[in-house]
């Protein structure tokens, strides 16, 4: 079981430590970890996000698990056998809960609210074993910092954020929902949020294209409602993951999602739909290099019109290390080259009259005739109102609710890991 959790800043400083068991872990482990990470980065001279050591490593004294969120490193230690994914998944939950509570995650936010962080950690894990990780219950036990609360504390000097009673949910058989909820207006919103992962190889062929989607529900319902969500075409789902509130039986028998929802925003289900045949836009990079310079030309356009506007299109790529300077222009949108040699071309919407293109030349390192590595273009876009996978929500049935609630459906598709190789 976990023995200690450390939160490290992006400079390796320990923001706080939480000892979990009697086997105390000294802070020096963090210094060891940081040196280890730095040494690795030095040896291989690679990008920042890649310099991290493996998520599970054995230090001389402890086994370390770590995740990095928004430049905060969550480091957990143990000395005995335990499922490593349990530790990692737990750290992810901690990061989720903290960023939810603090509305973001950075060094200052954690330091400013360290008492809440301590209280949360204490509630979330006991003796190295996760205790309460359900965000809804945590919210009832420890109130998140709010503007009103801050003002009150300034005025009155009293700043208790601890609840005095145990949330009723802990006793019920649906631990994710408080028992006696009352909302003035009963509403439930279902969002399909899809991310398209695609790989287009050097020859322009679509190697892989799949949708990773989530059904996000925002429920503001009184009492103890029982919801059933059915899809029009559940057979296209390749694989699914459910929130604990989803009952397995109805899904197994007729692929209906039957559940008692938690209150507020939650992720009901995630799914994967594989082997899609089409992408909404095309990105065609062309590179040719010769005599120490490299000419680049990137074309972007709509391939399959999804019927809604494609928004916030952006093409990003990393200039290879052997490039000394680059002169890039575009006929639409803006081009930025960041300090870490990342080139970022934000297009926005595709205009009707012309096809956006980026062109320019780059100077190679002296002694290098031609470019023998090729950059990978990461594309992002957003399409509101469409689920590109074609998954359809058929019906949302609500039982056990006195008033007729308002039901809303939305869909959005974004680019996920959408890559074009050149």
């Amino acid at each position: 079981m976990l023995q200690c959790i450390f939160l490290l800043s992006d400079s390796g400083e320990v923001i706080l430590e939480k000892q979990l068991t009697g086997h105390r872990v000294d802070r020096s482990i963090c210094a060891w970890y940081w040196e280890h990470a730095m040494a690795q980065a030095d040896t291989f001279k690679i990008e920042l996000y890649q310099h991290l050591p493996a998520p599970v490593i054995a230090s001389p004294t402890h086994y370390l698990f770590q995740i990095v969120r928004d430049n905060i490193t969550f480091l957990a230690c143990t000395q005995v056998e335990m499922p490593p994914l349990m530790a990692i998944e737990f750290l992810c939950r901690v990061a989720d809960v903290l960023s939810d509570y603090l509305a973001g995650l950075n060094e200052d936010l954690i330091k400013d609210n360290f008492v809440i962080v301590y209280e949360l950690l204490d509630e979330m894990i006991d003796n190295g074993f996760p205790l309460t990780t359900e965000p809804n219950i945590l919210r009832e036990m420890i109130a998140p910092p709010s503007i009103v609360g801050k003002m009150l504390s300034v005025v009155t000097g009293n700043s208790s954020n601890m609840s005095n009673t145990l949330p009723g949910a802990t006793a019920s058989c649906v631990p994710w929902r408080t028992t006696d909820l009352k909302h003035a207006s009963n509403e439930v919103y279902v969002d399909l949020v899809e991310e398209m992962d695609a790989i287009i190889n050097r020859e322009g062929a679509l190697v892989k294209c799949e949708i990773y989607g989530q059904v996000e529900v925002n429920s503001q319902l009184s009492g103890f409602p029982d919801l059933t969500l059915s899809f029009g075409n559940p057979s296209i789902l390749n694989d699914v993951q459910f929130h604990p509130c989803v009952r397995f039986r109805p899904w197994e028998s007729n692929q209906n999602l039957s559940f008692v929802p938690p209150d507020g925003q939650f992720k009901l289900m995630s799914y994967r739909i594989k082997k899609l045949k089409n992408t909404p836009i095309y990105v065609k990079p062309q590179l040719s290099s010769d005599a120490g310079t490299c000419r680049i030309n990137v074309l972007v356009g709509i391939r399959n019109d999804p019927g809604k506007t494609i928004d916030s299109i952006e093409v990003q790529f990393q200039l290879p290390p052997c490039i000394l300077s680059a002169d890039l222009t575009s006929n639409h949108g803006t081009v930025n080259i960041l300090a870490n040699k990342t080139c970022c071309w934000s297009i926005g919407k595709i205009p009707k009259d012309k096809a956006p293109s980026l062109s320019g030349s780059m100077k190679l390192e002296t002694g290098l005739e031609r470019l023998h590595v090729s950059p990978i273009f990461q594309v992002s876009f957003k399409i509101m109102g469409v689920a590109l996978s074609g998954l359809q929500i058929d019906n949302l049935d609500i039982k056990n609710l006195p008033a007729r609630p308002y039901k809303g459906f939305r869909a959005v598709t974004r680019a996920g890991k959408y890559e074009v190789r050149s």
């Binding site: 079981m1 330091k111 290098l368």
Partner: protein, 1139 residues
């Protein structure tokens, strides 16, 4: 003093954060000690206390030691404000261990809080109280936990379950029974969330007490989907262990594949169809795969360390231990478990998915395994850390069963945002699962990867291409083409300095090419020729060296290569001086190889070239090159410089020059093909930490032995139920007992245990007392003490020596054995401490080991029987006496003349050291001085003095001292007798590679706790010796004799007769059933002769007296291999029937 803001924040963000920071605790973190905290703590306003506590917390967060405020903080535990309470608890838990005395002050408040109507308060109090971790309060906490385990609030019960591991951490040996009891109660709870926490408690408190699971198995399976996600992870593993231990492995699963040939014979009826179907199934398994699967399944069962060490010591005796028991997937227990875990593959917690997938991997029929694939692949889309762990496991699955993932290759295609570790894992998986049909697409991908700007990744891709070619020989040619293409363009436009990244790709490409060529050198001759031709453009020294080496290696294979050798060598000789070190070496070697293989005209030319290169090398700046050149020169002098002669000599193999032969041996030996054997591959249970770090993490347990949980045990399970009700009683009245013990501090720290054990001991004592009718040597209260050491056995906690006040004095008395003996034998009245304790000691039986050691009969081995020895019979016995020289084992050798003629001049000596005493003494001396390290391997005996004459029928005994150097192989000795030399073998006994290590049991436990985890090994066996003992004396004595004693004695005797140990202590079971010896536990200690490391042995018995007993032997020893061997030895002799 502290950083006010993050170093990176500029002034603007400073200003903006300042606004947001109003009303937060920011100022407390920034300047925690700008006001004096002490007065605030003493304030009567909660808000001020809060502020002070927050400041302290901030200091803790920043790594300062603020334990000096402890007394003031503890006072505030009485506060009514929950926030203050919580903050105090946070502080308290951080420092309780440091300030145990002050922490005690808070206990009363906790006890008061435990009665609070608010469940949150009760839960917090319990959590904190258990978290304080002080031995002194442990009994109170046990009582509190027992009470909270019946609390109406689910949350409190859950916290009670979480408190159990904390108690277990304290190693309260006396309370284990009680704690396990509570685990049982909580496992049976109605609320799934409590069950989850109870499962976690079970896993850390008593993971091997699977009987406890057996009682609730069905119910646990059914609640599994409703249990909280974290509990699910643990519970899945527990249920898996239970089913394996109860029902055995599943015949249709991959675990059974190594035994398939054995199983096929068993299969009949409907199962046979299955077997046939399996053969035609897509899941076709090659020899390599089945070997891997066998390794995996054996490793899962025994742990890779043990499995690998077994491979070394008893090579192919893999099946010796017998076939594991198998069951069918149609078995109810198996079926329900598989059913209940399959929906968990849809969990949103990746750890649950992996745990469920791991269970299916081990238990599910092969054709159902596919269902784990998609969920596993879905994990790859979550955080990169989870993806990494999932990939590590998928890699193992894919290695053992590539067909499972073969059609999912596109899921392992690499994104630029993947971290390096993930990329490397994906590449390895891709090269493992590639099939004839998917390889074109994969190659297409690889070609893209090779152009990645991370050159380390590109090099890995090149290595993966090589692996693919080795797996699928049909594509080898395509691979070679691609790889060759890689060697060219880079060499054209790069100098070595500018692109360090590209050189690793080039080197890797050459390595891959080499590994492909190795598969079929003659067929790929053109590739070598091509590489040699481009040698001029290959600038990277390592790559160059490798190509030259390849040329040398395959110089005689093919047709084109031999023809161009001379010119290439000339070229190489020309640029020799400009080359890098490694290239120079390879040029040297290649030249020698060519010379050794050359024929006719070539030979002449290449000889000249070689001598030219040697000349150059002689003057090289590097001493290594100079030395090597000199060696080669020396070896080949004749060969090189007497042209005609050697030419002849080559064809007359008899006259072949010794040095030439040596040179050929050195240079022409084909390198051993890189073993594709998975021997060094280590399998740990899927989803475990050990699988990721690839060594057994402390606390790692392989699967239990299949079917080790027998039906007999389940009746034992019902015994536990009985015991449960028994101590339920104790649970009910525990509140008064707790108050009693806390009131009456003079009672001793563990007063409650004493009274408990005392009372139950009395119960049993009465029973057996009535049965034994006043026999002095009966009863439960035994002092088992070892003559060899002054340690005494400390039993149920109620023998007189356990009285804490008397303890120090007793130690003094115990210093000498004689004192102990006399003290034991004399009536209790004579002892100062005895009267008070004897009041609850009805009777006591003592086996002083004096008597036990007299009965120890070490096993005698035959060195020479009368037939082979011409009438002379020589036996030897390992003696427990210690040799005067350290590291030597004493043997008692007895010579007996069974013939009719006298035997003369009998002498036993080491073969290698011919005869004389002086020689061996000398060897001994050199050995001891250890000036010559290789000498260490020579076994040394201190010889027996010669027996001048042995008359017929006469026998003689000699003590011989032998140094086995910890080899388990026999020593070959020679026995000289009447002029005859007879070879004999002396078999070592690992049980005597140790010497007794006396200690008291506290020290034993301390040592044991240091040697946990990977230093701890368990094995089970059955002990039957006592049965005969009990049966023999049936009728008259069995009434009088305590069965426990008999069991104890026989077991102790067996142990001491077979190994040189010292008995440390004996734990007697506390039970109402005097046939049930479960819990009887003997502890032994010894010290390894060679390095004086302690080695602790614990033997625990389970079962019914009159039946064969399930025995668990545990060895704790730092020396892993030795410990395992010793364990095997112990298990084998324990299981041996008595003589």
């Amino acid at each position: 003093m502290f950083h006010q803001f993050g170093a990176t924040a500029d002034s603007l963000s400073k200003a903006s954060t300042l606004v947001f920071r109003i009303g937060t605790d920011a100022h407390l973190y920034d300047d925690p000690d700008d006001v004096s905290i002490a007065p605030l703590l003493d304030s009567k306003f909660d808000s001020e206390k809060c502020e002070a506590l927050k400041r302290l917390l901030a200091l803790i967060a920043q790594g300062f030691d603020v334990s000096n405020y402890f007394p003031q903080v503890v006072k505030n535990v009485a506060s009514q404000s929950l926030e203050v309470k919580k903050l105090v608890y946070l502080y308290l838990l951080h420092y309780a261990e440091k300030r145990p005395n002050e922490a005690l002050l808070s206990i009363n408040y906790f006890q008061k809080d435990l009665g609070d109507p608010n469940p949150l308060v009760r839960a917090w109090a319990l959590r904190t109280m258990a978290g304080i971790r002080l031995h002194v309060v442990a009994p109170i906490v046990v009582v509190a936990v027992a009470k909270c385990a019946r609390d109406p609030s689910v949350y409190v019960r859950k916290c009670a379950a979480n408190a159990l591991p904390k108690l277990h951490d304290l190693r309260l040996e006396e309370n284990t029974g009680g704690i396990e009891e509570i685990v049982g109660i909580l496992l049976n709870d109605n609320s799934p969330s409590v069950v989850g926490a109870a499962a976690a408690a079970f896993a850390s408190v008593c993971p091997n007490n699977l009987n406890l699971i057996g009682r609730h198995y069905k119910k646990l399976c059914e609640t599994l989907p409703d249990v909280e996600e974290w509990g699910q992870i643990v519970l899945i593993e527990i249920l898996l262990r239970y089913v394996i231990a109860r029902q055995g492995l599943v015949r249709e699963s991959i675990m059974a594949s190594p035994y398939s040939e054995y199983l096929d014979s068993e299969i009949d009826g409907p199962d046979r169809d299955f077997a046939v179907k399996e053969e035609t199934n897509v899941v076709s398994i090659g020899a390599y795969q089945s070997q891997l699967l066998q390794m995996a399944s054996k490793s899962y069962l025994e742990g890779p360390e043990k499995y690998l060490s077994q491979m070394n010591f008893e090579d192919k005796g893999a099946f010796q231990s017998g076939l594991p028991k198998f069951t069918s997937a149609k078995n109810d227990d198996v079926k329900i478990l598989l059913q209940c875990t399959s929906p968990l593959l849809w969990s949103h917690n990746s750890a649950v998915i992996l745990a469920a997938a791991g269970l299916h991997w081990i238990m599910a029929p092969k054709e159902d395994l596919r269902r784990i694939v998609k969920p596993l692949l879905f994990i790859l889309r979550s955080s990169s850390a989870s993806a990494y762990v999932a990939l590590c496991n998928i890699q193992v699955f894919a290695k053992a069963m590539p067909s499972l993932f073969a059609s999912y290759s596109e899921d392992f295609f690499i994104c630029s945002s993947d971290t390096y570790q993930i990329k490397a894992l994906k590449l390895e998986i891709l090269s493992n699962i590639a099939t004839e049909s998917s390889i074109p697409v994969i190659f297409q991908e690889f070609q893209d990867y090779v152009r990645d700007s991370d050159r380390r990744f590109a090099a890995d891709t090149v290595a993966a291409i090589g692996l693919c070619a080795q797996r699928l020989p049909n594509v080898a040619n395509t691979c070679l083409e691609g790889l060759l293409a890689l060697t060219i363009p880079q060499s054209l436009n790069n100098d070595t300095e500018s692109s360090g990244g590209d050189s690793i790709v080039l080197i890797q490409a050459i390595i891959s090419i080499r590994s492909i060529i190795k598969l079929d050198p003659p067929r790929h001759e053109k590739v070598i020729v091509h590489l040699v031709r481009t040698l001029d453009s290959i600038k990277v020294p390592t790559a160059r060296a490798m190509v030259i080496r390849m040329m040398g290696e395959y110089n005689s294979s093919g047709h084109i290569l031999p023809k161009m050798l001379t010119s290439v060598l000339t070229y190489l000789a020309c640029c020799f001086t400009k080359e890098a070190l490694e290239t120079k070496l390879q040029i040297l070697y290649a030249a020698v190889k060519v010379v050794l293989c050359a024929r006719g005209d070539d030979l002449c030319a290449s000889k000249k070239l070689l001598s030219y290169v040697l000349e150059l090398a002689k003057c090289d700046i590097n001493y290594d090159i100079r030395d090597r050149a000199r060696v080669i020169r020396k070896l080949l002098t004749q060969y090189l410089f007497s042209f005609e002669l050697v030419e002849e000599a080559r064809y007359i193999s008899e006259s072949k020059n010794m040095s030439c032969l040596l040179a050929e041996r050195l240079f022409l030996e084909k390198p051993k093909s890189m073993s594709t054997e998975p021997n060094n591959y280590r399998f740990y249970l899927p989803g475990s930490l050990s699988q990721i770090v690839l060594h057994a993490a402390p606390g790692y347990n392989p699967l239990p032995e299949p079917c080790s949980l027998t039906i007999g045990d389940s009746s034992f399970g019902s015994n536990i139920v009985k015991g449960g009700t028994h101590s339920d009683l104790y649970g009910v009245d525990d509140s008064e007992r707790a108050s009693g013990s806390s009131d009456d501090d003079s009672n001793s720290s563990d007063g409650s245990e004493i009274s408990e054990a005392g009372s139950s001991g009395n119960d049993v004592g009465d029973e057996s007392g009535s049965a034994s009718e006043g026999d002095e040597n009966t009863g439960l209260l035994i002092n088992f003490s070892d003559v060899g050491n002054a340690a005494y056995a400390n039993l149920n906690g109620n023998s007189e020596v356990n009285d804490p006040q008397s303890r120090p004095n007793d130690f003094g008395e115990l210093m000498s054995n004689r004192a102990l003996e006399s003290w034991l034998d004399e009536s209790p009245d004579s002892s100062r401490n005895a009267p008070e304790s004897s009041s609850f000691q009805n009777s006591s039986a003592r086996i002083s080991v004096g008597s036990l050691s007299e009965r120890v009969k070490p096993k005698s081995y035959t060195l020479l029987d009368t037939v082979n020895g011409n009438g002379l019979r020589v036996d030897y016995v390992f003696s427990s006496e210690m040799s005067s020289k350290s590291k030597f084992v004493c043997l008692e050798v007895s010579f007996k003349n069974c013939s009719n003629e006298p035997k003369e001049k009998i002498l036993l000596f080491d073969e290698d050291i011919e005869g004389g005493q002086d020689n061996s003494e000398q060897a001994l001396r050199t050995n001891e001085s250890s000036s010559a390290p290789h000498n260490n391997d020579v076994k040394v005996i201190v010889p027996v003095e010669e027996i001048p004459c042995l008359e017929p029928g006469q026998s003689s005994k000699k003590i011989m001292e032998v140094h086995f150097h910890h080899h388990l192989l026999p020593i070959k000795l020679v026995l000289r007798c009447s002029g005859l030399k007879l070879p004999v073998k002396l078999w070592p006994d690992i049980g005597y590679f140790v010497k007794p290590l006396p200690m008291d049991d506290e020290e034993f436990f301390r040592k044991e706790s240091q040697l946990r985890g990977m230093f701890e090994y368990n094995r089970r066996c059955t002990f039957i010796d006592h049965v005969r003992e009990l049966k023999d004396e049936k009728g008259e004595i069995s009434l009088v004799k305590d069965k426990f004693l008999v069991v104890c004695e026989t077991l102790g005797l067996k142990m001491l007769s077979n190994a040189n140990l010292s008995l440390i202590s004996v734990d007697m079971p506390v039970t109402t059933n005097h046939d049930d010896v479960s819990g009887l536990c003997l502890r032994f200690a010894c010290e390894i002769l060679s390095n004086s490391m302690p080695c602790l042995i614990t033997v625990t018995l389970r079962g019914n007296c009159s039946e064969p007993l399930n025995t668990t032997v545990k060895v704790n020893c730092e020396e892993t291999v030795f410990g395992l061997n010793l364990l095997n030895k112990i298990v084998s002799f324990l299981a041996e029937p008595p003589l």
